[in-house]
């Protein structure tokens, strides 16, 4: 079963801006899927269309086999969404925000109220339940939107940058939470600018840029295709000139820092041997960025050049 199928989705905004140029995308039921792309790529636009907040200009969408245009209500019942921007009434309290949202899905007040309490506790918002939502911190507001997205128990949860501006501790607890509900069967689609997040959480990924899907596949497969990795070496003594290292590319050489590109599968011993021969003493070694990030930047950078050309 496919949780989401998108065929040739297009969106041109009223000002003439073409935000989506016909994207195709498939997300399997039970998947944990990342939708990546630079600012303005069209991620939120695509999510907006899936959630009935943006009118599409072309193409079609199926949610668990239901056509979005023809069976919109069935689709809506299955989807829970956490938008990029805060969109609850900040004068209302979290408990009522959840009860009201449940009501929109036909859940009677008595049931809604127990369920609201359940999610308030689960997302650690219990203490704030009766205060106006504007008094909550940014991280709490994000968690409230997650609770709100889940209150009607959707099969597909879509999160648009849920961890933006959230501290590392809360981000990790959100990850654990999302992994848990994914394990229980909820399909999750997430956008994020933290590539490390996508790499550790998601199984499949699509990269979108300038309204087009530029890459799509399993995270592990994309990583194996990412052929090079850059390492940053900190040196004990500054070097004045980039050293010549056979088989390795020096990307940057600055004072006590050396950035070296290594092809995946290449032996690192050779590198250290050559450095030792040239009396270059390495104090520490680290990855420049995580591999998905490097892959991503390479891909998007390529696209930039194409567009400029």
């Amino acid at each position: 079963m496919k949780a989401l199928e998108i065929f040739g989705l297009k969106k041109t905004y009223a000002n003439g801006h073409e935000a989506l140029k016909g994207i195709d995308l498939t997300v399997e039921q039970g998947d944990f899927f990342a939708l990546l792309g630079p600012n303005g790529a069209g991620k939120s636009t695509a999510i907006g269309i899936i959630c009935s907040l943006v009118n599409a200009s072309g193409g079609s969408i199926k949610v668990f086999g239901h056509d979005l245009e023809q069976q919109r209500n069935q689709c809506k019942m299955q989807i829970g969404v956490v938008p990029q921007e805060i969109n609850f009434n900040v004068f209302e309290n979290p408990r009522n925000i959840l009860i009201t949202q449940a009501g929109y899905y036909g859940i009677p007040r008595a049931v809604a109220s127990t369920r609201a309490d359940e999610y308030l506790k689960l997302l650690d918002l219990w203490d704030k339940r009766n205060a106006p939502a504007r008094e909550m911190s940014g991280g709490m507001k994000r968690r409230l939107m997650i609770a709100r997205a889940l209150v009607h128990r959707p099969q597909l949860l879509i999160l648009d940058e849920p961890t933006a501006g959230v501290d590392i501790e809360i981000r990790r607890s959100m990850w654990t939470f999302l992994e848990e509900i994914n394990r229980q069967g909820t399909t999750i689609i997430l956008t994020t600018h933290y590539l490390e997040e996508a790499e550790s959480l998601c199984r499949n990924v699509a990269i979108i840029d300038h309204g087009e899907i530029v890459e799509q596949g399993a995270v592990s497969e994309l990583l194996s295709r990412s052929m090079v990795q850059t390492f940053v070496l900190d040196l004990k003594v500054p070097v004045t000139e980039p050293p010549v290292l056979e088989g390795y590319t020096v990307m940057r050489c600055e004072h006590t820092r050396l950035d070296i590109e290594v092809t995946v599968g290449q032996n690192m011993n050779g590198l250290f041997q050559q450095l030792a021969e040239q009396n270059i003493e390495v104090v520490s070694l680290r990855n420049k960025s995580n591999r998905l990030e490097e892959f991503f930047l390479r891909l998007v950078g390529q696209k930039e050049k194409e567009v400029a050309a």
Binding site: Y13, A14, G48, C51, S52, L53, V54, N55, R72, N73, Q74, K76, M77, I79, V81, P83, E85, I86, N87, F88, N89, V90, F91, N96, T100, Q101, G103, Y104, Y105, G106, I107, P108, R109, R148, H152
Partner: protein, 259 residues
């Protein structure tokens, strides 16, 4: 799975409860001020000036203006409620909460209309209570009174929704109330019978829809009107259908709420 009709019944109740909670939470801004201004109108126009005016259309002046003052409160508050609530929902984007859910646009519209009606009737009732300090307020025809007030309230509630659908900023939600609603209500015969006007102005007044509402309501309370009140029902009913259809069309198109 529950049927979509059952879902919408719950959704409708949810919107109405949310709307009532909203205006009750800020009752100092929503409920009290209209009662205070009504009190002032009745004191100044009714008692101080009214004693020198004598009779209007066969009634004591204060008795004559009380229905109009109640109606004015109902009109402004029904309108104000839906305009500020719907615009607020748009402005803070929380209208999206209901747009992502399987709620029919008719239900969204009806929910907001009833929210406005509740505020209109609540304020109207409060003004009526205030008026008891000035007049006995016997109601000649309770059914007509109730029907007219509910229908009028619905109509202006719809008007407020349409206004907020088009509004882009806070200025846009005060233009219509200030430049259209207030003049039409004042010229709609709250303080005078149009029989006092020269023929030309009488004729012109007849195209003011608010006149039909105030006269219909006054007929319900006092039993007299400037014309046959069947016209009142006809005009209000017509406008409800017309504006209701426009509002629904705009919601279906997603004007002002969808990108």
């Amino acid at each position: 799975m529950t049927s979509i009709a059952a879902v919408n019944v719950v959704a409708f109740k949810t919107i109405v409860v949310k709307e009532i909670r909203r205006f009750m939470r800020i009752w100092v801004q929503t409920i009290v001020p209209p009662a205070v201004s009504a009190l002032l109108y009745m004191m100044i126009f009714g008692t101080l000036i009214g004693s020198r005016v004598g009779e209007m259309d066969g009634h004591r002046y204060i008795d004559f203006i009380v229905p109009g003052i109640i109606m004015m409160a109902v009109i402004t508050n029904s309108y104000a409620n839906s305009v500020s609530s719907f615009f607020g929902a748009k402005f803070q984007s929380h209208i999206e909460e209901v747009l992502v859910a399987p709620v029919h646009n008719v239900v969204i519209l009806a929910g907001y209309i009833i929210g406005g009606v509740c505020r209109g009737l609540m304020v109207g009732a409060l003004v009526a209570v205030v008026s008891l300090f000035f007049t006995r307020l016997t109601i000649e025809n309770p059914l007509i009174t109730l029907l007219i007030v509910v229908m009028t309230s619905m109509l202006f509630s719809i008007g407020g929704i349409i206004n907020s659908i088009f509004a882009k900023g806070f200025d846009d939600i005060s233009i219509i109330p200030n430049f259209v609603l207030t003049p039409l209500t004042y010229l709609g015969g709250i303080f005078y019978s149009i029989k006092l006007l020269p023929d030309f102005w009488q004729g012109l007044s007849m195209i003011n829809p608010v006149l039909y509402m105030i006269n219909g309501f006054r007929y319900g309370i006092l039993g007299t009107s400037d014309f046959n009140i069947v016209w009142s029902f006809f005009v209000i009913g017509l406008f409800i259908l017309l504006l209701g259809a426009i509002a629904l069309y705009l919601l279906n198109k997603g004007v002002g709420i969808k990108r």
